[in-house]
């Protein structure tokens, strides 16, 4: 007897790289879930003020742009992730040692020494960076052309915008949190529809790859997330 599940294939399957294959196999459920989420423009932020939200939207869109192969920070809802993180334990530095005295100018190798929790670094960092953008480029970051935004972010990355030592980690956090929001399980608010996983070919919360360890062959199956959604 051949069980029913062995008999047919319901969908045509597009060959090619794992990424392309998995992308094409984005399930109806995952797409539906993605479409059900309110547009980013309508998202009501928990932590970020409207001005800060505009910055995070604009900055993450340059850190992981939408054009080219793969989804960008916008499509994957990275700004939502960052807002959630800053509103929660991460933003408040709940797990960190935050006792005085602070020496924010200490050698960087000794680790971050700012008295500000990540939420505070974002708040003051965005303000200081927008101030720098206004002074140098004549407008807040979110209002600049994309080329000017890229240049401003590069200056931030190169520590050339004159941030005080307490804000030294601003760029590191922004870059790290953007990538986190891109790749983290969708339960945290980003990686909508598991698009970032589909793009690179990471199968998510699947657990067993016993048959695939040692096999030099593209893995064809799309990801699953912790909630059990498939893409």
């Amino acid at each position: 007897m051949t069980p029913e599940f062995l008999k047919t294939s319901r969908r045509a399957f597009l060959g090619g790289s794992a990424a392309a294959a998995a992308l094409s196999a984005l399930s109806d459920a995952a797409l539906a879930q993605q479409q059900e989420l309110p547009p980013l423009e309508e998202y009501e932020s928990v932590f970020l003020t409207p001005g800060e939200w505009a910055f995070v939207m604009a900055a993450t869109a340059r850190i992981i742009p939408s054009d080219g192969d793969g989804p960008g920070a916008q499509e994957t809802r990275v700004p939502v992730f960052i807002d959630h993180q800053l509103a929660g334990d991460f933003g408040a530095a709940s797990d960190l040692y935050m006792e005085e005295p602070f020496a924010p100018e200490a050698d960087a190798n000794l680790g971050p020494q700012s008295p500000l929790a990540p939420a505070g670094i974002y708040r003051e960092g965005i303000a200081a960076f927008d101030e720098w953008c206004r002074a140098e480029q004549g407008a807040a970051f979110s209002e600049l052309e994309t080329d000017a935004q890229d240049a401003a972010l590069q200056a931030l990355a190169d520590d050339e915008v004159g941030l005080r030592p307490e804000l030294r980690e601003f760029w590191t956090l922004l870059l790290q949190n953007t990538k986190e929001g891109y790749f983290a399980d969708p339960r945290h608010g980003g990686n909508a529809g598991m698009q970032a996983w589909v793009y690179i070919g990471f199968p998510g919360a699947r657990a067993n790859f016993h048959e695939w360890a040692g096999r030099d062959e593209a893995y064809p199956l799309g990801p699953v997330d912790i909630a059990g959604e498939r893409a």
Binding site: A103, L110, A184, I200, E217
Partner: protein, 589 residues
């Protein structure tokens, strides 16, 4: 508020690997035992259950299973003249907390040190002359030999169900194993794991160059296993969420999978969680401990817990911290070289080369914590220290532990860190790179030590412990030597491109990026009470009823991951307590 609880025979500080081993060994003696664990209770289900534990952000990035710096941290400086700063966020190393300790979130690489590592100073002096040892290098012998410890390694490896391939059984070299290892009495309990693509490629290249690749010994079960306590492991499924995570599949050896449910059946054993030991209480004459004082989080009060025997089984850093706070052993003074507690803190020298292959599908998500192939052709017992100009050695290895994307996707040199180029890069290169790593020794130096910080305190008002550590030229020369060897192998594999990351001359210790959680020393073992904090049975020299377990006993770091030796030493000390100390309590040496 404070209370005093009824006396126990034994109090164990910390319920990770060593606390669990000592707990069950002493429970078998019928002793009344209390283990105190500062963190929460943890079990495979619900704490590591599938799929919830496969949350890279929560556990891999936000360190859900690790010690919270808010509750416990250290300060760090590189040199004695620098002002130490608190480690406010975890980075370089990740101590665990909670039941199981770091034993839940390790990768499972389970090694035995080389024979000469136990008697490193004697070995160097005999083979290369005392002049080969730099003036500031404070390496010592352990006071115990590979031969003496062999039965205890065997016990640990069979208890933990290690998957591997023996290379030397009672002096007979076994094809496919590590021919340079110390003799072992029998093979590993389980066969090696199946190998990942990168490991197979590395092994093939190494073999072609005349080296001797062998499977990395793994605490990831290749088959179902039942140990001496009746505890069980299921086969590893290569889920790719090993290090930093509790195992969802009962496959990784841990106190949970190997000991705890058996231990909990002993009515004479109990444990309390969320109970952080603040100090070891000492008798008025300082010659014995009377018990411990701990903070009971639930009751919000300090508790005095009297006990006849005190076992320090917390992480290396916390054991040393408790010794410094309690006056166990004379604190080490780097100026005079006198004192013992805090002496010879050491770490691990690692480096690696990343190789990119556009046309190879590595499927990095199909990984296990200890899968991989290694060579020991440049081990510490294979190198002519005189000719090479350094003391030390390293194993060289490749194996795919995980493909978690936030933790990093290797990209060829020149790829931007952000923007369109980065996004293009991750799409092109995820799953198309592998790395060959060097995992090497890190020796002991006069000024690398642990003491109490003069400024910063913890939530209980105790001074934080202060770490003084920096990389030293000897170990950098070692890692540069390994770089040369690894790059030769890498080039022979003709990747599309490759790039290396090894410490260069002048490299300074950086606590931000993760390196290894292989902190050792500070409560070092030895044969001389003036040069070591504990004797060869891990018994405090000055307080015979205090035993200090863990990697703090290593007088300098070995070229291997420490857990194998930590486990063997725990069984070694347990035997000494059961057979020698209990019948006749007093100094064992």
């Amino acid at each position: 508020m404070a209370r005093t609880d009824p006396k126990k025979d034994v109090v164990i500080v910390g319920l990770g690997w060593t606390g669990a081993i000592m707990g069950i060994e002493l429970a078998q003696e019928g002793l009344d035992i209390l283990a105190l664990e500062r963190g929460p209770d943890r079990a495979t289900v619900p704490d590591f259950k599938y799929p919830n534990v496969i949350d890279e952000l929560e556990y891999g990035i936000r360190f859900g299973f690790m010690q919270k710096p808010k509750n416990s941290t250290i300060t760090v400086r590189r040199t004695d003249d620098e002002v130490a700063q608190p480690m406010r966020r975890l980075g370089s190393f990740l101590p665990g907390d909670g039941v199981g300790g770091a034993g839940i979130h390790w990768n499972g690489q389970t090694w035995r040190p080389m024979e000469n590592e136990y008697r490193l100073r004697s070995y160097v002096e005999e083979e290369f002359g005392a002049d080969a040892i730099p003036e500031d290098m404070t390496i010592q012998d352990w006071g115990v030999t590979a031969e003496e410890l062999e039965p205890y390694f065997d016990r640990f490896e069979y208890m933990a169900g290690i998957s591997g391939q023996a290379g030397n059984i009672n002096g007979e070299i076994i094809e496919g194993g590590n021919p340079f290892e110390a003799p072992r009495s029998r093979d590993y309990p389980l066969p090696p794991l199946q190998q990942t693509v990168d490991a197979k490629m590395f092994a093939e290249a190494a073999r072609a160059m005349g080296y001797h690749p062998f499977p990395r010994p793994a605490a990831n079960a290749s088959e179902a296993w039942t140990n001496e306590y009746g505890m069980q492991l299921g086969p590893c499924n290569f889920c790719g969420f090993c290090e930093r995570y509790g195992c969802l599949n009962y496959s990784k050896s841990s106190p949970q999978t190997c000991i705890l449910d058996a231990l909990k059946r002993y009515p004479n054993f109990s444990y309390r969680v969320n109970s952080e030991v603040l100090r070891v209480d000492m008798a008025a004459d300082g010659q014995t401990a009377t018990g411990v004082t701990y903070w009971d989080e639930e009751a919000q009060e300090e508790v005095t817990q009297p006990a006849d025997l005190v076992i320090l089984a917390a992480y290396q850093l916390h054991n040393v911290h408790l010794m410094l706070l309690s006056g166990i052993g004379e604190p080490y003074d780097p100026q005079t070289g006198e004192g013992v507690t805090g002496k010879n803190y050491s770490y691990q020298m690692t480096g690696g080369t990343t190789l990119f292959f556009k046309d190879v599908e590595f499927n990095p998500f199909a990984g296990a914590g200890s899968v991989g192939m290694s060579i020991d052709d440049f081990a510490i017992n294979q190198i002519d220290f005189g000719a090479e100009g350094f003391i030390g050695g390293s194993y060289i290895t490749a194996g795919n532990t995980n493909g978690q994307p936030i933790r990093g996707i290797a990209l060829p040199e020149g790829t931007p860190e952000w923007g369109a180029g980065w996004k293009q890069g991750i799409g092109e290169w995820y799953g198309h790179s592998m790395s060959i790593g060097s995992h090497g020794s890190c020796l002991a130096y006069r000024d690398c030590h642990l003491d109490l910080d003069p400024t910063y305190t913890d939530r209980h008002g105790r001074p934080l412990m202060r770490m003084t550590f920096d990389w030293k030229p000897n170990d950098i020369r070692m890692t540069q030597f390994m770089k040369g060897k690894i790059e030769e192998i890498a080039q022979s594999m003709t990747p599309d491109s490759w790039q290396s990351s090894f410490k260069d001359e002048g490299a300074r210790y950086d606590i931000r990026p993760y390196q290894t959680t292989h902190n050792v020393g500070g409560s070092i073992m030895g044969t001389d009470p003036n040069a070591s904090a504990v004797n060869r049975y891990l018994q405090a020299w000055g307080q015979h009823n205090v035993f200090v377990l863990g990697a703090g006993a290593f007088p300098q770091n070995i070229q291997y991951n420490p857990t194998g030796a930590v486990g063997a030493l725990a069984y070694w000390a347990a035997r000494a307590i059961r057979e020698d100390y209990l019948p006749n309590p007093g100094p064992l040496v």
